[in-house]
């Protein structure tokens, strides 16, 4: 199994749940920060179909679940975003993220926590799902039971991870 490098992590917690368009605007600003390895969006699931009750199985018409464009890449958003966990190369990147968030969250407050919020080593379930040669970049990003893969965001060439001035 490939050894995963352990990077620092931080978590952005807005005081309100974010709509897809707001998430898109925020992420488009954050992904431009050099030194970000992975981003995990957590929030309340928006089901594709009505899960319970007499209307069970009917299509759930909502504007909370949609595809958003992040740096030219399409991301299928399944949740109403509540927290954004960011894995970074260096703790100094937190300051850059904080600067963006200070300017972004003007209507309501937010806070940033530093700590460990994503799995950094494979669990037994990961081993059962991915086997001994699991890609370390996937560990902790998605529930191993889900069929969907995480979205990979390719940045334009001018943005080189870990370098450049912000």
């Amino acid at each position: 199994m490939q050894e995963a490098m352990i990077f620092p992590q931080c978590r952005i917690v807005p005081m309100r749940l974010l709509k897809p368009d707001t998430t898109k605007r925020l992420l488009n600003e954050i992904v431009g920060v050099p030194g970000i390895c992975r981003i995990l969006l957590n929030g309340q699931n928006i089901p594709l179909n009505v899960p319970y009750g007499p209307a069970r199985g009917m299509k759930n018409t909502t504007n909370l679940r949609k595809k958003i464009e992040i740096a030219g890449n399409s991301v299928d958003l399944h949740v109403q975003v509540g927290t954004i966990t960011v894995e970074i190369e260096d703790r100094a990147v937190v300051g850059k993220i904080r600067t963006i968030c200070d300017a972004f969250f003007t209507d309501f407050s937010y806070y940033i926590q530093e700590g460990k919020f994503m799995k950094t080593s494979p669990s037994m379930v990961d081993y059962a799902r991915y086997g001994p040669s699991a890609d370390p970049s996937v560990i902790g990003l998605v529930d191993p039971k889900r069929k969907e893969q995480p979205a990979f965001i390719r940045m334009p060439d001018e943005r080189i991870c870990g370098e450049g001035d912000f």
């Binding site: 899960p51 759930n60 909502t62």
Partner: protein, 265 residues
């Protein structure tokens, strides 16, 4: 003059207390529970809109019945039946239907337990089911529509923080959405650009043929003054109401020491 009259016992009228506390939350709880207190009407909703929101029958459709009207059937000789006056729904043999509300903990004007207390004092012939984040009440269909009017039109409802949810109710304990609406995975109601909340689905999540307006969300200052839930961050903290804390501690102590037979030494 007897001893009792001399002590004024005969003239001692009992006044229900409804609940303890000196905070604004406790006062609001008592107001909602007290059937003699007239709740403020905040909005108006038509009969047809209530029928649409509940989703139990089509507007204009007759009430379906599960038994003949009481007047037409032979009632057994029972003193209790003579004593208890049937509600309109029971009189006509209506089906038992339900309405369920989910209330946000961010200063929603009513709360599941409070809802049950208030309904038990104010309504007849109901069967409430109380959970931490939602409350369901079952009763005869035409009674339900009448009770729903009070629950939606008065200060017990806020279009943003209280919503009708028959199923998929999660939202009570979550942060609000950025527009101030309680989270709803089925997005039954939407806040329009004009600031009015409109239901686009009925309480179980079936799309409505037309939108149902329930008015504008109330402002945060009003909600804080009229909330019935303690919240240390956005509202009134329970610890600030010493009388309430004392009452809760007393109940806890009695239940712990004596179980269901509380006796103070």
């Amino acid at each position: 003059m007897s001893v009792f009259a001399a002590r004024g016992i005969f003239n001692m009228a009992r006044t229900p207390q409804y609940g303890p506390g000196t905070s604004v939350v406790a006062i609001n709880r008592r107001k909602q529970m007290d059937p003699s207190h007239k709740l403020t009407i905040m909005r108006h909703i038509s009969d047809e809109d209530i029928v649409l929101l509940l989703g139990h029958r089509a507007p204009g459709e007759r009430f379906r019945s599960v038994h003949p009207p009481i007047a037409e059937q032979q009632e057994p000789a029972c003193p209790m039946r003579k004593l208890v006056r049937p509600t309109e729904g029971a009189k006509n043999g209506d089906r038992v239907r339900y309405v369920q509300f989910a209330d946000s903990m961010f200063n929603a004007p009513c709360q599941p337990y409070q809802r049950t207390y208030a309904e038990m004092y104010r309504f007849r012939g109901i069967d409430p089911g109380t959970l931490s984040g939602r409350q369901i009440v079952e009763c005869r269909e035409r009674d339900l529509e009448q009770y729903c009017r009070l629950l939606i039109e008065t200060e017990m409802f806020d279009p943003a923080l209280v919503s009708l949810r028959g199923a998929t109710v999660h939202g009570h304990s979550l942060r609000l959405s950025e527009d101030g609406m309680q989270f709803d995975a089925l997005q039954r109601c939407l806040l329009g650009d004009d600031g009015v909340v409109r239901y686009v689905k009925d309480q179980i999540g079936l799309p409505l043929n037309r939108m149902v307006e329930v008015g504008k969300p109330l402002d945060s200052a009003w909600l804080k003054e009229h909330s019935t839930i303690f919240h240390s961050l956005v509202g009134t903290a329970l610890r600030d109401d010493r009388e309430y804390v004392e009452y809760l501690q007393r109940i806890h102590t009695l239940r712990t020491k004596y179980g269901f037979m509380p006796r103070e030494a």
